[in-house]
């Protein structure tokens, strides 16, 4: 039995992961912003076999709440075996270009709040000297593309932070994994026109995430072909890259 903390628990990818874990009878501490959605997610996991589900309503922008949340999680479960940080939004790039306030807020949701949470979690994991810290970043963080660079820059911050944290915590037996999903068919991508062959359901991604956590991988591109796509995109020389509309 594992004790699992999930931040952004009502997101489609997080839910799909939780369902796989629930079938194995694990314990959950779920965190999300919307109390009603959180409760519906908790009920679903209980029915699917979770040993117990506790919930905490929190907006990730409310930084002082982060410590409180973690405190409550620890007092309920005593330790964390897996922490999945999965919250995020997909900002409207054009709107962010015209509104610096909005750009900063979106950066906070997708970048700064994750750094705050990871810093607190790192303290707890240092104390524990065991456990897995899984963070959902994105392939978008691998290169700043004109269509999506605000989101990309926040995710780049997260990816770099995780890489450093991984090297720091590895030495004491704590595992950190950076998860970089490609296009996933979720409410976040509803309304986008994406090439159909590249889009996968959240259940597909969840299976790979759960097994990568088990296998203590450092970085997971999911689906795996994104590793190749991003390798190509990273290799495009700048004099060509700047002329593309990726």
């Amino acid at each position: 039995m594992k004790r699992i903390l999930v931040i952004g628990a009502t997101s489609a990818i997080a839910t799909a992961c939780c369902r796989l874990w629930a079938e194995q009878g694990h314990e959950f501490f779920l965190v999300a912003r919307d109390a009603e959605k959180l409760q519906q997610t908790a009920q679903d996991l209980e029915a699917r076999g979770a040993k117990s589900v506790n919930s905490f309503t929190m907006d990730v922008l409310d930084t002082p709440q982060h410590a409180l949340m973690l405190q409550q999680c620890i007092s309920t479960h005593r330790q964390i075996d897996i922490a999945l940080v999965a919250h995020g939004t997909l900002p409207d790039q054009t709107a962010c270009e015209q509104d610096a306030e909005l750009a900063l807020q979106e950066f906070s949701i997708n970048g700064s709040s994750v750094i705050s949470l990871l810093s607190l979690l790192a303290e707890q994991f240092t104390l524990q000297r065991c456990g897995s810290l899984a963070v959902i970043s994105s392939v978008a963080g691998d290169r700043g593309r004109p269509s999506n660079y605000l989101y990309g820059s926040a995710k780049a911050a997260v990816s770099a932070f995780c890489e450093g944290l991984h090297a720091r915590l590895f030495k004491i037996g704590v595992h950190v994994i950076t998860i970089k999903p490609g296009f996933v068919d979720t409410p976040m991508t509803q309304g986008l026109t994406l090439p159909k062959v590249l889009v996968v359901p959240p259940e597909y991604v969840a299976k790979q995430i759960v097994s990568a956590i088990n296998n203590k991988k450092a970085v997971l591109y999911t689906p795996r072909f994104w590793a190749l796509i991003m390798l190509i995109i990273r290799s495009i020389p700048n004099f060509i890259f700047k002329r593309l509309n990726l």
Partner: protein, 437 residues
């Protein structure tokens, strides 16, 4: 991402755009948005309806398979409450280890709970348990921005109209169903082959009452004295064994061939081998529940084998007193045409009444088989078959249909006018437009 979907049969060849519903509380607003921009919409579950009953008249449907959370489960009483997009496979996955099974299951576990109610599906135990709707305790119906609880006691008229109501009374957002207890995940099976239709009816008369499940495979190409030869299969939940839920590895048809792979030659060869493979004498075996109930679920995208033009299923039920003659006549016409499908199914339905207003099954015999679509199918073969069904007082199954005549439908389903009165104006399907003209 919005996606394009088609019905299971791929005919009519209509692609629909889908807006996914993810949260119960947001669905009402999504219906309103659809209604404002496209006049009407329709719930689309897992896309297992064969014809046009799952296709929105506006070509803009609401995707329900993402509304797939369990709400409560009661393993003491065998009650499951879940959102409408949960599939029967999801339910079995958690119910079997706890010693419960679906009271009624159709031939695929990949249908949603909402779809099973809206089409009032039935299975191999219709003669003892009736339809899926007989085991629905209550459901939530979202209709004209109102969330209504429907059961036999509360809003009974909408309860009845929604069961088998083809999604037209509103959107089913959640439902509570009763399960049946099992001791093991295995099925005790009995199989025996029969030489013609008369033998089928004899077997069915003596054996149906003794078993929970009964169904027959028939060789749709056998003619003359052998018309209606086939294999009779019975099953019961095994009393002993484990309650492990196992999912067999799935095969998949990776792409759609330009033409149907099912033709007279491949079919004749298949049927010949399959019939001869089965023993003359009654044989007892044991099977996992998956291959017994869902043989075709093993092959993902099996509908692709019929090629780009798609296929149509013909499923009719003929009342008891005219069944023997009418089924024989139907099979003779089909054999003469040289067309049909490997999987052709004959099933004796019982007389348990469904709460549904437009439920398909009735006491009698049901015949179902697939035909690769082509332009002549409807104008020639289906015309002849329809006439036989009509004269015998039978009817066709809306969930499988893409061709039924409006006059036949209206005569066979006298409740249709009541359903039209109770229809949520925000819901309209291509099927309903076609048969209520």
């Amino acid at each position: 991402m919005s996606q394009l979907v088609a019905s299971w049969g791929g005919y009519p060849a209509v692609k629909q755009s889908i807006t996914a519903c993810t949260w119960r509380a947001e669905t009402a607003k999504q219906i309103m948005t659809q209604q404002q921009s496209h006049a009407s919409t329709l719930a689309f579950g897992n896309g297992r309806s064969y014809g046009d009953s799952c296709l929105a008249a506006s070509h803009h449907a609401l995707g329900m398979n993402t509304l797939n959370r369990f709400i409560t489960v009661d393993w003491q009483q065998g009650l499951v409450t879940a959102e409408a997009g949960v599939t029967l496979a999801d339910i079995l996955r958690i119910a079997i280890p706890n010693g419960w099974f679906l009271a009624v299951t159709p031939g695929t576990q990949f249908v949603t709970l909402g779809g099973a109610i809206a089409n009032d599906v039935h299975g191999k135990n219709h003669h003892v348990r009736g339809t899926f709707g007989c085991h629905v305790e209550q459901f939530g119906l979202l209709r004209q921005e109102q969330m209504l609880n429907c059961s036999a006691q509360e809003n009974p008229e909408l309860f009845s109209a929604t069961i088998g109501g083809l999604g037209l009374t509103g959107i089913i957002t959640w439902a509570t169903i009763r399960l049946i207890p099992i001791q093991s995940a295995h099925i005790d099976c009995k199989t025996v082959r029969f030489n013609n239709l008369d033998e089928f009816f004899e077997l069915s008369n003596t054996l149906d009452a003794q078993h929970e499940y009964s169904v027959a495979w028939i060789d749709c190409l056998a003619a003359g004295k052998q018309t209606g030869r086939g294999v009779f299969m019975m099953g019961d939940h095994a009393q002993y064994g484990d309650l492990q839920h196992k999912t067999a590895a799935k095969l998949s048809v990776p792409l759609t061939p330009p033409v149907s792979l099912i033709n007279t030659y491949s079919l004749r060869a298949f049927n010949h081998l399959y019939w001869h493979k089965h023993p003359k004498k009654l044989t007892v075996t044991r099977s996992d529940y998956e291959p017994f109930f869902y043989p075709l679920d093993r092959i993902l995208h099996w509908n692709r084998i019929y090629g780009r033009k798609g296929f149509q299923q013909y499923q009719c039920v003929i009342p008891e007193n005219t069944a023997a003659d009418a089924i024989k006549e139907l099979l003779q016409c089909i054999a003469k045409s040289g067309r049909g499908s490997f999987l052709a199914v004959l099933k004796r339905c019982g007389d348990i009444a469904s709460p549904g207003l437009l439920s398909f099954p009735m006491a009698g015999t049901s015949l179902a088989l697939d035909f690769a679509h082509d332009a002549k199918l409807q104008t020639e073969l289906f015309q002849t078959l329809d006439n036989i069904v009509h004269h015998a007082g039978g009817r066709l199954y809306p969930a499988k249909d893409a061709h039924m005549r409006a006059t036949d439908f209206q005569q066979a389903y006298p409740g249709w006018q009541r359903l039209e009165q109770l229809r949520d104006p925000a819901m309209q399907s291509l099927f309903w437009q076609r048969v209520t003209r």
